[in-house]
């Protein structure tokens, strides 16, 4: 049996010299004098420091294939990074309590029912208020961040404008994406309806996708560009992105669509604007819209 002493050591403090410190600071200081308080706060800080690198580490697998290739993906990475950072304090604190409990408060083992009992703390107003406040502030921060980011992304896509009424200005490119078991086809209505099975995108120009399916639900996922929308049979969904990096990227289907769902992949070629136009022309479609 390990001895555990939760009693305060020594007599209470002698009256302090008069100071300007508010009484609550006395309470905090006195609380910190308790051995477990120091231990848990210290452990929280230590675990927090150990957990901080996760915010960077988590981005490494996300960048395995060339991400980020758009501002949307950059925003996603930033969000993951920030969310990890703000979660670290609460996680560190909870884990610190777990660890400290295992280190310092273990007292009995075996079959005998313990004779001692612990302090009968049925509530702690300060603790409850602190926790509620912190978790609410955290949730509020996450919500506001998320809403702003979502608004930015949505402004990059058509939302719910029907395919017939989409503007075709000089800059933007419209792609009609059709998913079917188990192949993606892309049609460029502004380029004489050229149809491809590889997705060609121009760099630094806004691209709008109209997506549908001919049979079951598929999911149109441009991995490194951070674009994802379901391809539904009987509906047209929309999204959009502006690629900002050249290269060959991945399009994967992210909704189980039958036997060869695993193979429903193709490549996304982001090329310079002029290269894009010449590729379209080679395929038989000059720019008409």
């Amino acid at each position: 049996m390990t001895t555990m002493d939760t009693r305060p050591s020594g007599p209470p403090d002698e009256p302090e010299e008069p100071t300007n410190r508010p009484p609550s600071m006395h309470r905090v200081r006195n609380w910190l004098k308790r051995p477990y308080a120091k231990g848990i706060v210290g452990l929280t800080i230590l675990l927090g420091i150990l957990l901080l690198p996760v915010a960077w580490l988590i981005l490494i697998p996300m960048r395995a294939t060339g991400a980020p290739a758009s501002e949307i993906m950059e925003g996603i990475e930033q969000t993951v990074f920030v969310f990890t950072l703000v979660s670290v304090p609460i996680v560190a604190f909870v884990y610190a309590v777990l660890v400290y409990s295992l280190l310092k408060w273990r007292k009995y083992k075996g079959d005998q029912i313990p004779e001692d009992e612990s302090p009968a703390i049925r509530t702690n107003t300060i603790g409850v208020v602190l926790w509620t406040t912190m978790s609410s502030v955290l949730a509020f921060f996450l919500v506001v961040w998320g809403l702003i980011e979502l608004a930015q992304i949505t402004s990059n896509s058509y939302g719910t404008i029907s395919a017939d009424q989409q503007p075709g200005d000089e800059q933007s490119v419209i792609v009609n994406v059709t998913g079917q078991q188990w192949v993606w086809t892309f049609e460029y209505p502004q380029h004489d309806g050229v149809t491809t099975e590889v997705l060609y995108l121009p760099k630094d120009r806004p691209v709008y996708f109209n997506v549908t399916s001919k049979d079951v639900i598929h999911n149109f996922w441009l991995v490194e560009l951070g674009v994802k929308i379901d391809a539904n049979p009987g509906a047209i969904t929309q999204t959009g992105v502006t690629p900002n990096k050249l290269g060959s990227f991945n399009l994967r289907c992210a909704e189980l669509c039958g036997m060869h769902h695993a193979y429903m992949e193709t490549s996304v070629e982001v090329v310079e604007g002029e290269t894009f136009e010449s590729v379209m022309r080679e395929m038989g479609g000059g720019r008409t819209a």
Binding site: E187, N210, T212, K214, A235, I236
Partner: protein, 247 residues
């Protein structure tokens, strides 16, 4: 927690000896309270199921996917975009509305008869209870027959689009509810004649009466849908598999 020795539960009103439930010996008022709580939970469950049907009906009505809401032949948006093989000749159309209200009316009458019977039972008029329950049963059977006739004379079949599917499911749910209701009413009648339902032990017709009120609401919801949400508001659905609108 202390486990003080205590006498078994006394009946709620010591002045008047309450009947006891045979299996557990508890006073009937305890059992009645439990049964009523059980009824509320059952109503929540059935309400969730009814709402699921209403959601299906109204959501499909609002979407009119591929123009397939209306039965083919019923309206303009019916047949042109339909790329499937309809299972009925293009004379299928929406159902007539008044039968839904008629059946709803029958359910109301049955409920009122049941309430009448229950009220008479509480007053000690045993014969009144039998009359009320019997009348409720007969009317419920009438509602069942009417519902069956309605289903068999619908101007569409199950394969005729989303409206047809939703209405048939609604009617099937009505049939199911009516079958259970008839079972319960029959049981109530038999038990009353055997004395198991009496002025002293009346919680079962009580909860049956409450249940019937819920049934009225369920039938009402169906009648409202089929009367006020018939033609789809979406006149311009996309054509399946393409990027074009109807127009």
């Amino acid at each position: 927690m202390s486990t003080a020795q205590a006498k078994p539960e006394q009946p709620k009103s010591p002045g008047k000896e309450q009947p006891r439930y045979p299996t557990t010996g508890e006073p009937i008022s305890t059992i009645a309270r439990r049964a009523k709580a059980g009824l509320w939970t059952l109503i929540v469950m059935d309400a969730a199921g009814t709402i699921a049907i209403i959601i299906a009906y109204s959501y499909l009505w609002s979407l009119n996917v591929n123009g397939g809401w209306a039965p083919p032949g019923a309206s303009l948006t019916g047949s042109e975009t339909d790329q499937s093989l309809p299972s009925s000749p293009p004379t299928a159309s929406f159902a007539v509305e008044w039968p839904f209200w008629a059946i709803f009316g029958l359910v109301i009458i049955s409920t009122l008869a049941m309430w009448f019977g229950y009220r008479e039972l509480k007053r000690g008029n045993h014969a009144g209870m039998v009359v009320g329950t019997g009348a409720a049963l007969v009317v419920a059977v009438g509602a069942l027959v009417a519902q069956w006739i309605q289903i068999s004379t619908f101007p569409f079949a199950a394969g005729d689009g989303a409206y047809a599917s939703a209405v048939l499911l609604l009617c099937a749910s009505n049939i199911f509810n009516l079958l259970i209701l008839i079972f319960l009413q029959l049981g109530m009648l038999i038990r009353t004649s055997k004395g198991l339902v009496s002025q002293a032990v009346h919680y079962q017709p009580q909860i049956l009466s409450y249940w019937m009120v819920w049934l009225c609401i369920a039938f009402l919801l169906g009648a409202i849908c089929t009367s006020f949400m018939v033609e789809s508001p979406n006149l311009d659905p996309a054509i399946f598999g393409t990027f074009q609108q109807q127009s």
